[in-house]
Amino acid sequence: MIQSLILSTLMFGAMFSVLTVSLNLQYARGGMINFGTVAYFAAGAYAYAIFTQEPPSGLDQYAFGFDLPWWAGFLAAGVAAMAFALLTGWPTLRLRGEYLALTTFAFAEVLHSVLLNERRIGNGSVGMANVERPDPAALGLDDTLAYAAAACLLMLATAWLFRRLLASPYGRLVDATRDDETAAESVGKDTARVRLQIFVISAIPIGFAGALYAMITTLVAPALFTAEVTFFVWIALALGGERTITGAILGTMALVFFQELVRIIPFETVRGAQVAASVEEVITGILFILVLRWQPWARLARRAGA
């Protein structure tokens, strides 16, 4: 039991860390509040499912299934998230602070609503079950172990690439753009372009994580991609202390561990389980409030609050 708790924490923790690390790039480095994180995650998951699924038959209502190998679906997930980031980022990034937060939130809700109502994309509210995925048993590996390893690999690759991206003149440019856009423009920097680049670059790993999520759960359905995912990632980011990649990962792991822990408590009744889930929500919220209250926020707020 302890082993399965650790493994599932590692698997979901690493996967959601990809989201947190990307959000950290957008917020702590780019100064952009993206309240629609789940949309890029969903775009990746759906793209993976659509590219790997067999063409529709029988009761299927979805219109496309390309039946391609998993790696093609995985790549498609990154491209889909990137494309959605371009589509949503280009018109909205000139908005600042809370306006950007609200508009990205609105875009995520629009995508959610489309996935829910447009059955030709992914069977509407039913979703697509039995999403195809590489079978670790073929290599003689335990299922959870293999996917936990894959999630960790994706997380480490993302962290390493982001670190490399920012430890460069480009990182300096990104920091300058966030610190003072007018001053950056006055030395000839195209800040609108930098903001869009960061927005799009950080969406790509989120798309990959979406594909991985589809493989792990073998299901994509609108109910899995609600605004709660976005809030979850924000809470994890706040828990981790915001500024660093390591902090983002630790915060996510801690939050996932906490949730998995609640999940393994055996309950006698349905009502008991339900109360526990609600209490978990309350504790998560309180943690969030306390962390935001006691963090050394002053510097960050100055940067991102404008």
Partner: protein, 288 residues
């Protein structure tokens, strides 16, 4: 054609409800300076407090509603004092993100206390009236009347009372207001009471015109955000106008496209407006 006008009429009622739900949100934004995502949860607090008095204790709806509104107003005040006041110095972004945590706490508490399932208030069934072939129920008319009453009295309050003028001064320029001898603490308390009380009123209305489940608050915040963004997070009159626009757009859209797209229509309107007028329909160029 009658059907079309029926949708317009329903849309206007929806719009009036949205106005009630958004005024408090927009008011907090103006005076406290941040977007309070947890505002919609206050609608839930009020709706379920009313339901508790009405259904569990067997009270009449009127005292139940009064208790619901009062509980909500003071809950909002308490949250404002305990949670938001200490972090004001961190700026609006941190306050916005914190309010998500507050929404979790309130939502989780309601979930734990009430549980899943659909609840209804113990009130007489709605009576339908017909005007020129258009149907409207007495409860719907009440929503419209209350929206007009709430907006009107808020406007009077802000323009003609000492506290109201202090609130306006504070929303325009907090530092200047403080230096002119306005009691910032007291004004902030009044703001929390009023905006939460309005959320309370909207929550009662929600219980009256719809069925209650514990996830209603979350659905409301989407529409409240839509109205607030459209209004440019600004004046009372902009909120009224954009509430009606969003309400009518959502309900009339059902005439052409599947009803499942109703929330999408609200946000489509918002996105379109933001693309052309980043500060909302009535926003000023300064934006802040």
């Amino acid at each position: 054609m009658t059907l079309f006008f029926q949708f317009v009429l329903t849309g206007l009622v929806t719009g009036c409800f949205l106005i009630l739900a958004t005024i408090g949100f927009s008011f907090t934004r103006r005076v406290e300076g941040f977007l309070n995502i947890a505002h919609a949860e206050l609608l839930g607090v009020s709706a379920f407090a009313t339901w508790g008095c009405n259904k569990l204790l067997g009270w009449h709806i009127l005292p139940s509603a009064a208790v619901g509104i009062l509980v909500t107003a003071f809950a909002g005040l308490a949250i404002g004092r305990i949670v938001y006041d200490p972090i004001r110095k961190h700026g609006p972004s941190v306050m916005l993100i914190t309010s998500v945590g507050v929404a979790y706490v309130i939502g989780g508490t309601i979930d734990a206390l009430i549980g899943t399932g659909i609840r209804t208030l113990d009130i007489p069934l709605a009576t339908s009236y017909r005007f020129w072939g258009l149907r409207i129920t007495d409860y719907q008319m009440m929503v419209v009347a209350l929206a007009i009453l709430a907006a009107g009295s808020l406007a009077l309050f802000l323009n003609h009372t000492r506290t109201g003028l202090a609130i306006r001064a504070m929303s325009a320029n907090p530092e200047l207001a403080a230096s002119r001898g306005i009691d910032v603490q007291k004004t902030s308390r009044a703001t929390w009471l009023i905006s939460s009380g309005l959320a309370g009123l909207a929550g009662v209305m929600l219980g009256v015109i719809a069925t209650l489940s514990t996830d209603i608050a979350f659905h409301q915040i989407l529409q409240i955000l839509a109205v607030a963004i459209l209004a440019g997070l600004g004046s009372l009159y902009a909120v009224i106008l954009s509430g009606l626009i969003v309400g009518v757009a959502m309900d009339v859209s059902v005439f052409w496209i599947p009803a499942g797209y109703r929330p999408l229509v609200a946000f489509a309107v918002v996105i379109l407006v933001l693309l052309f007028r980043p500060q909302g329909i009535a926003g000023s160029a300064s934006g802040k």
